[in-house]
């Protein structure tokens, strides 16, 4: 682990509200993106993004398909490292003041702090129990009591415990779509992140399952900073505190959610929200 990532870890720990919630300024940005240009090969995907993401808020990214919102989300925990042609041309992403693209930052350490839930639920072909503790297993934790405790805590946190507590050793793939997605959230929580990135977590779910996830997001807000990408504007309006509208790789407007949906500053935003394009 590099020096910077140690520092990063330390700083995040020091600022963890669970330790000292009184003192923390709830509006201070946890993540700051400045002058950020990003491209896949020759194709530039993000242009000059500047954005602050506040701690313990839900931030929604909205915009038409291909507008770069998922790309930006994946830049926040360096998932784009997996794509060979991905390149940052300019600018930086800071978490608690640490540039996460500094070469001394350990990406795996970063991803333990910034968890992610994907569009399509993707539990591993293992038991429910093993799915939840996967993050701990790779850290080499073997203590049975700690693993059991984590499974119960995270499944309860993801509002799944009551439904699966009697069949923890059945395959994660045997669950329904909505349950699978909540299992993935539980799995992401088990690692103990501060931030949860959600990439259209409800797009493959029916309305009932969606409602459950949205309810869950509301509850998770107390412990996590959440960034959610969504196509569903009602969902953005329901769950988020602030909303960012993207179009063609540009951040058009970012503001408090009420503000964006009631009286957007930009004409494009209004056109999109009112359904005139996209």
């Amino acid at each position: 682990m590099s020096l910077v990532s140690l520092r990063l870890q330390k700083e995040i720990k020091m600022d963890t509200p669970a330790v000292d919630s009184q003192r923390v300024d709830r509006n201070r940005p946890l993540i700051r993106i400045s002058d950020f240009d990003f491209s896949y090969g020759d194709k530039q995907a993000l242009f000059d993004i500047n954005m602050d993401i506040a701690e313990h808020k839900v931030t929604a990214f909205i915009g038409p398909s291909g507008c770069g919102k998922s790309t930006l989300l994946r830049c926040l925990n360096r998932m784009n490292d997996l794509i060979e042609s991905a390149r940052i041309n300019r600018g930086k992403v800071e978490v608690n003041g640490v540039d996460i693209y500094d070469e001394r930052v350990d990406a795996t350490e970063l991803r333990k702090r910034i968890g992610m839930v994907f569009q399509k639920s993707n539990p591993f072909p293992k038991s429910i129990y093993e799915n939840v503790i996967y993050g701990l297993r790779i850290q080499g934790i073997k203590k049975k009591s700690q693993l059991d405790e984590t499974v119960e805590r995270c499944l309860k946190g993801a509002a799944l415990w009551e439904e699966v507590k009697d069949r923890l050793d059945t395959s994660g793939l045997s669950l329904s779509g909505g349950q699978q997605q909540r299992l993935c959230i539980a799995r992401a929580m088990a690692v103990g992140p501060e931030v949860l990135l959600m990439d259209e977590p409800c797009s493959a779910l029916d309305p009932v399952a969606t409602a459950k996830i949205e309810e869950l997001i509301h509850e998770l807000k107390n412990d996590y900073t959440i960034v959610i990408v969504t196509h569903n504007m009602q969902q953005a309006a329901r769950v988020s505190d602030q909303t960012a509208f993207f179009y063609m790789g540009n951040l058009i407007e970012m503001n408090a959610t009420d503000q964006i949906f009631m009286s957007p500053d930009k004409e494009q935003t209004e056109a999109y929200i009112s359904g005139r394009f996209g």
């Binding site: 998932m79 997996l82 994907f118 996967y134």
Partner: protein
């Protein structure tokens, strides 16, 4: 008529072009269906042909074994077993003697001096060798009588065949002129059997002789030679004990016992000897060939599995796209090299290289080095690995490719490293696909012919597995190799010919089984994805 000239849209649809009563669609369907049909029929014909040609084998083999028993040659073989045990003992003694001479030469004694020193052990050796003479002569005499009977029996068989064909072509006179005698094996065997008391006496003398001579085993000051002589004493005492067992078997042997067909079957499947064109009896035992085939295949898999799977993991999970575009076609190209070229390379380069490397001083601590044979199971296995790698690589890479990208992403997003992701998620998920890749690679290796024929050494003997890992450096023969080597030279329809077909049938069954299990595993793999 008038109505037909009116072309409605409905009528156009009925006017499709057809040729010989076939529309274009049904012709295409027929073409492709026909192709599939032809391949199935060909496969069926091959199976049928193998069965048909092989099926007569067991009958013929049983007849041959029956003749072997009735002629009494089996009886002689039992005595010969005892004789062979005795000569093994003599050979061991001989090796002590030559080691002694060698040592003396190393210590700088000249010929005369060493002669004087070895005189005592020399005498002992000759005395011991003399003990073996009566038994050997007894065996030779018995063998001569009985094989003479067997030979004339076969001659009469041939004559009666000839007579039959003469009669069929209507040449009665010539047929009558043939003089065909009945050979009664019992007469000949009784002569041999009547001398059984001699055999018992020989054994008594042999035991007495060894017991008398054993205390006078020469004493060597040298520790190594002394250890060997002690070992010799042990072996000699073991032999004395065995004599009564041999004798018991010989006396209990019955000429009239029949040979059931199952015996022909078991002596093929579990037979430990493959001996052809022998003057006494031909043996068609599968074990030496099968163990050779599997030994070579194991060596090949030992190299091909880690290399093939490792390369697949690298290309699929780690390599950049440029590397992937380079490595993949290269590995797949290996399978395009004709196997005879690989075999050629094995003879010319690889075998020699292995033997030279095994002669290095720095490797002398390995107890089976240096090796004596250039062409052995290891040489063939190493080259076969080269041929199995593309199969394993391609199929394993496919299996890895089938693992959804989302698994990898999910694992990485939880802060696992690339290695952890590969070992804990990707490989376990693709495991059944990888296993079936390995199985198919194994099938490829078992069925490969040219390389083993050229490079395996072609010694038809069961490898000495008891010697541990050094067994891989022994020359072996294989099921595929023996077919390729012998089928061209055997008489059509003979027992030997049919035996080779049975070997082919066994090979066919093995690869059928391997493919079946590979398919099963792949199916399980697809279901578990569900």
């Amino acid at each position: 008529m008038d109505k037909r000239s009116f072309k409605s849209r409905y009528q156009l649809a009925c006017n499709r072009k057809s040729f010989l009563g076939l529309t274009r669609e049904s012709a295409l369907k027929g073409l492709f269906g026909g192709n599939a049909f032809v391949s199935i029929v060909v496969l069926g014909l091959i199976t049928l042909f193998l069965f048909k040609e092989g099926a007569g084998f067991f009958g013929q083999y049983r007849d041959s074994l029956l003749l072997y028993r009735q002629s009494g040659l089996e009886y002689v073989e039992l005595m010969r077993g005892q004789q062979n045990a005795l000569s093994a003992l003599t050979r061991y003694l001989n090796s002590i003697r030559s080691r002694q001479v060698e040592k003396l030469a190393e210590e700088g004694y000249d010929f005369q001096e060493s002669r004087a020193i070895t005189e005592e052990s020399e005498d002992f050796f000759y005395d011991f060798e003399d003990l073996a003479v009566p038994l050997r002569e007894h065996v030779i005499e018995a063998n001569e009588i009985l094989s003479a009977a067997r030979d004339s029996y076969q001659e009469m068989q041939n004559l009666s065949e000839h007579r039959k064909s003469l009669l069929e072509s209507g040449r009665q006179d010539e047929a009558d002129a043939l003089e065909i005698r009945e050979i009664d094996f019992a007469l000949f065997f009784d002569i041999v059997k009547s001398r059984e008391s001699e055999y018992i006496e020989i054994n008594e003398n042999l035991i007495r002789g060894i017991e008398e001579i054993l205390p006078s085993v020469p004493y060597f000051g040298d520790a190594e030679l002394q250890a060997k002589t002690e070992r010799f004493k042990e072996l000699a005492e073991m032999f004395i004990e065995e004599v009564s067992k041999f004798e018991e078997n010989v006396l209990a042997w019955e000429r009239a016992r029949s040979v059931p067909i199952s015996e022909a079957f078991t002596s093929f499947i579990f037979g430990k000897k493959w001996v052809t064109n022998s003057s006494i009896q031909d043996w068609y035992g599968l074990i030496p060939l099968m163990s050779g085939s599997f030994l070579v295949a194991l060596v090949a898999m030992f190299f091909a599995v880690p290399l093939g799977i490792g390369a697949a993991i690298y290309v699929n999970q780690v390599a950049r796209s440029l590397e992937r575009d380079l490595i993949k076609p290269y590995i797949e190209f290996i399978s395009a090299i004709p196997s005879v070229v690989i075999g050629f390379f094995g003879i010319a380069v690889f075998g020699t290289l292995i033997r030279e490397v095994s002669g290095w001083e720095s490797l002398a601590w390995i107890d089976f080095f240096p090796i004596s044979e250039r062409l052995n199971a290891f040489t063939a296995g190493g080259l076969l690995a080269l041929m199995a790698i593309p199969t394993i690589f391609t199929l394993a890479e496919d299996a890895l490719n089938n693992v959804p990208l989302s698994y990898k992403e999910a694992s990485m997003a939880m802060g696992s490293t690339r290695l952890q992701t590969i070992l804990r998620i990707i490989v376990p998920t693709a495991l059944s696909g990888i296993i079936s890749a390995v199985l198919l690679g194994f099938g490829r290796v078992i069925g490969e012919t040219m390389v083993v024929l050229l490079c395996a050494g072609n010694r038809i003997e069961i490898p000495r597995f008891a010697e541990g890992i050094g067994v891989v450096f022994e020359p072996v023969h294989t099921m595929t190799g023996i077919i390729a080597q012998e089928l061209g030279e055997v008489v059509h329809g003979s027992m030997h010919y049919r035996a080779l077909f049975m070997v082919g049938l066994v090979l066919f069954l093995i690869s059928l089984l391997i493919n079946y299990f590979a398919q099963k595993i792949v199916m399980k793999f697809q279901i578990s994805r569900g």
